[in-house]
Amino acid sequence: MTYKYESQRVAFPYFVAALGLFAAQILFGIVIGIQYLAPDFLFPAIPFNIARMIHINLLVVWIIFGFMGSAYYLLPEEVEGEIYSVKLAWLHFWMFLVGGATAVVGYLFRWHDGREFLEQPFLIKVAIVIVVLMFIFNMVMTMIKGRRRTSITVVLLIGFLGLAVFYLFAFFKPDNMVMDKYFWWWVVHMWVEGVWELIMAAILSFLLIKLTGVDREIAEKWLYIIIGLTFLTGIIGTGHHYYWIGTPEFWQVWGAWFSAIEVLPFVAMIIFSLKMVSMRTKKHPNKAALNWTVGTAIVSFLGAGVLGFMHTLPQINFYTHGTQMTASHGHLAFFGAYAMIVLAMTSYAVPNLRKKTGEIMSQKAEIFAFWTMVISMICIALSLTGAGVVQVYLQRILATSYMETQTHMVIFYGMRLFFGATFTLGLAVYLYDFFLLKRASSR
């Protein structure tokens, strides 16, 4: 399967940037993982809060690079026409990369804002909005000029528009901390349990059509079912963050019921992908891409669906709120849903974009990396769940002090770091396979 449109090639640098930033994200993850065990590590040069904001900001930036690269790869094939402007795609690629790098270096010099995940200084936030608008403009023009309008591209566009619109709430910083928190979730929750799920589902549908050869009509019907369930449950499901932050108590009812069924879109994604695979009309040679594709449906179900459900009811969340349980869920959900969907698209698209296009070389290394990363991340989540259980029991039930409780969780932080190391090994093999093993034939 080679690429069909010349402009698809602009996707390639996006995947490269995503992988580079991914590696940097994990480096900083290891740093804070070590600091949990040895607090003096790199202190005071890089304190925990700075390293943590770098860990998470890099995550978000590389995922968005991955989303944009995926869009540039699939758009021409979907609309049957070239990208409107390849120059524009390159321009906002560099703007985003330079902006992202500036932000990270700035953090090291304490140039940052102060709300979790939204630490980007004002100017960087403005730059991000401009980049996303440039991208959306290019996408819309490509769709208008294309010969075909598909549901996949429409859903993808709604996802990106939502990403841009909800990010605008990052500019809203009222003096009232309760109101601040209320709208902070309009960025964070509305992204990961709303509009990003649309982007994920659209990419998933594209991949499944390509990898199984099953008819588009079926895939697009499922796509609408999935995103219908996403919004049906996820919008009012925001209420699972409004239990204890000073907002009315009716959220404990509405947030609980709607967020409890937020697992449904993830169940639907599993059924969808297994069904497509069982109906397949061809055996695609790119086995690694199929692994990532079916894997993302399954692991996102575990991380978001299962671990998310476990702490979403107020009767449980009262005890787990803001403990290592939350970190456990955050890791497996982000990795399973968004890291893996981007890696799935990378795995599918990149061989088609290289010089010897469409040639699938030995995927042994990549499949080894796949299993190592997936199993390691599941073990990281389990370690943090262990830490969370201890924390809930000692601190929340027996009222042991925070710092005292932490001393009883060291074993689990050790396990987390160990599996962080195996995760890094998997990533290293992946990157070796991507950049070195195939360099001879890359473009």
Partner: protein, 138 residues
């Protein structure tokens, strides 16, 4: 079910839940004066929040259970430690940082910053959080 009816259900569901959600948002905002004592947000409280953000406190601590999990909850810190103790922590942090195992870095905090942070924490402590956290340890 075919693609068109699936799409229509998506649109219908989205419109309905969005309307409900927006209505509940209005109700939530209307409850703030009472639940969050909006009237007590003095200049000091507002400045304290800005100082809290300037040093990214949230990327180590939780505040009402949200943030990072590396350091203790601060929403009820005045009730747990008392105002005097919190002042000592901040005044020491302004000079050399604070803590023995996990440490708070040295932060540039003026007298005004410290007073405002304390005011901010006092205001935070009075928010009606539906009895969270389960106990004083946060």
């Amino acid at each position: 079910m075919n693609r068109a009816s699936a799409r229509n259900m998506f649109i219908g569901a989205t419109v309905i839940v969005s309307a409900i959600f927006l209505y509940m948002t209005v109700l939530s905002l209307q409850s703030l004066p009472e639940r969050a004592n909006t009237g007590n947000i003095t200049e000091g409280v507002a400045w304290g929040k800005k100082v809290f953000e300037r040093h990214a406190c949230i990327d180590c601590h939780t505040l009402l259970g949200e943030g990072a999990y590396y350091a203790p909850e601060l929403g009820n810190v005045i009730a747990r430690r008392g105002e005097g103790y919190v002042r000592v922590v901040l005044e020491t942090a302004a000079v050399q940082g604070w803590g023995t195992t996990r440490k708070m870095p040295q932060f540039d905090l003026s007298e005004k910053d410290i007073d405002s942070l304390v005011e901010f924490f006092i205001w935070m402590g009075k928010i009606n959080t539906s009895n969270w956290p389960p106990n004083i340890e946060g």
